[in-house]
């Protein structure tokens, strides 16, 4: 039964990710006074891409071909660890947050390799930029996550979330810092404005898009899907760690239904906030990204610090 719910939850993750991307795009279009595409446009894009035959460069090795599958499956596995509608699922019990970060690193590693593989200038440039940014973002993310795990004294996401839930409404200064740090990291990792702009293919500024420039057909579909999943994953992480209310603690149909509704609501709000901030902010120069992520790291450290000083029981 539990495994069934876990599988359902992970499939929900995968199924809903394009919808979230569509919703963000819709909000952005409305905010920018443009006519918005349908909410389901990302699904159509994915289907269209899957039906097309992939074109692979002559120089490409086997790495290039298998990378999309690895990236996608690693992301799905990461998604299975994060509680979406319920806590205490067997998938999340078997792995903790560090494994999740590991899955991300794994996926990124193969994506960067694939970018290098074909030997075009853009692919290499994109890989190098991606690695730079992630090497800066990862410590900041871990700092923010450690703040949470120290509060709950566990690295298991599911247990940590139920801990936060059981404490009731407690305002923790450390969480304020950790929240901001995690938001900043999430924006950098998922390649949103102001770090990267997912909507353009401007050669000098693109990061993520540069790596996947050579992909087409179902390969591209998988990678796009994986990055939509990653965006949703970060959204769920932020929503459920800092505002866990509504998540199902038992596996009754009612609780699960509420859990689904709650995460729908939270993600809707988060997406609107993201769209607003993307509309307000301009993309920053690549060389300022390190300052930006340095700031996130700083916030993470401050969060950890204020936990140790203020909240750790003496």
């Amino acid at each position: 039964m539990n495994w069934l719910i876990a599988v359902i939850q992970t499939s929900l993750f995968a199924a809903l990710a394009p919808l979230l991307a569509g919703w963000i795009k819709w909000c952005k279009c409305r905010l920018q006074n443009r006519k918005a595409p349908s909410l389901f446009q990302p699904y159509r894009d994915l289907i269209k891409l899957t039906n097309k035959q992939p074109v692979v460069a002559e120089q490409a090795s086997w790495l290039f071909t298998i990378a999309p599958y690895i990236v996608f499956s690693a992301t799905v596995l990461a998604a299975s660890i994060v509680p979406l509608i319920a806590v205490d699922l067997p998938t999340s019990a078997s792995a903790d947050v560090i494994v999740m970060v590991g899955f991300f690193a794994f996926a990124r590693f193969f994506l960067a390799l694939a970018g290098l593989d074909i030997g075009t200038a853009f692919g290499g440039m994109g890989s190098s930029r991606e690695m730079t940014i992630s090497s800066l973002a990862e410590p900041a993310m871990l700092m923010a996550i450690f703040t949470l795990t120290m509060t709950a004294s566990t690295t298991n996401l599911s247990v940590a979330i139920s801990h936060v839930l059981n404490d009731g409404l407690v305002l923790r200064p450390s969480f304020v810092f950790a929240l901001f740090a995690l938001i900043i990291v999430a924006i950098a990792e998922t390649g949103r404005v102001p770090v990267d702009n997912p909507a353009t293919h401007l050669e000098l500024t693109m990061i993520h898009e540069a790596m996947i420039l050579e992909y087409s057909g179902r390969h591209l579909a998988l990678i796009e899907w994986a990055s939509q999943l990653k965006l949703m994953l970060y959204g769920v992480l932020i929503a459920n760690i800092f505002f866990p209310w509504g998540i199902a603690e038992t596996f009754s149909a009612k609780a699960l239904g509420y859990g689904l509704l709650a995460i729908f609501g939270k993600l809707t709000v988060l997406a609107i906030l993201l769209a607003v901030s993307e509309t307000l902010l301009a993309k920053m120069r690549l060389f300022r990204v390190q300052e930006y992520l340095g700031f996130a790291y700083l916030l993470g450290v401050l969060g950890l610090l204020s936990y140790i000083i203020l909240e750790a029981s003496r």
């Binding site: 009731g168 407690v170 923790r172 450390s174 304020v176 810092f177 901001f180 390190q290 300052e291 700083l298």
Partner: protein, 225 residues
Amino acid sequence: MTIEQQDFYTQTILSLAALVGLTSFLMLGQGRLLRLIFVFAVQGLLLTLTTALAAYSLNNPHLYISAVLNLVLKVIFIPWMLRREVIQMNTHRDIEALNNNTMVMLGGASLMVFSYYVLHPIVQTTSPVMLNALALSLSVVLLGMLLMISHRQAVAHVVGFMSIENGLFFAAIVATKGMPMVVELGVAFDVLVAAVLFGIFFFHIRTSIDSLDVDLLNKLHEVDK
């Protein structure tokens, strides 16, 4: 005593304190003057909220007066004045190149650790809230100084100066439930006069060096050359 056992007032104060500290950091890394002023106003607003909350929960009417004073001075008057100045000087489109921003940020974090370290001896005599309030306000004071060191625009210096005042105000509200009324009025008066004087000074500096970049104020030396 862990944070879960504190009452809601204390938790809110602690979180507001964290936010005040956060605004200080935001100011530190801010190269655009208008945004700097905006963040400063937000900090003032957070202080006003803190004061009003303290007044409400301690049932202390004179803190309401402080809250109103703070609102008028630091959220409305001073930001308005600075904003006008920046727009008049036509510097609102400039981005100040901050050297070593990452180093400054890390320096700020160390200052925060340092202020906790300095005030640690008093931890035995007090609750973590007090320690946090005092340490945080000290770090806001020190971050204000760092802001003044790392920025070159006179307007940024004034913001730094006023955010130092903010830090002190926060300490007075949270740690000691507000200073005696006469002192608080006096301090508010001093801040007001200082703000007006800064306005006059902007005018003087502008007429004398035709810019508000205080790095150009470099005629006087420790030893005459």
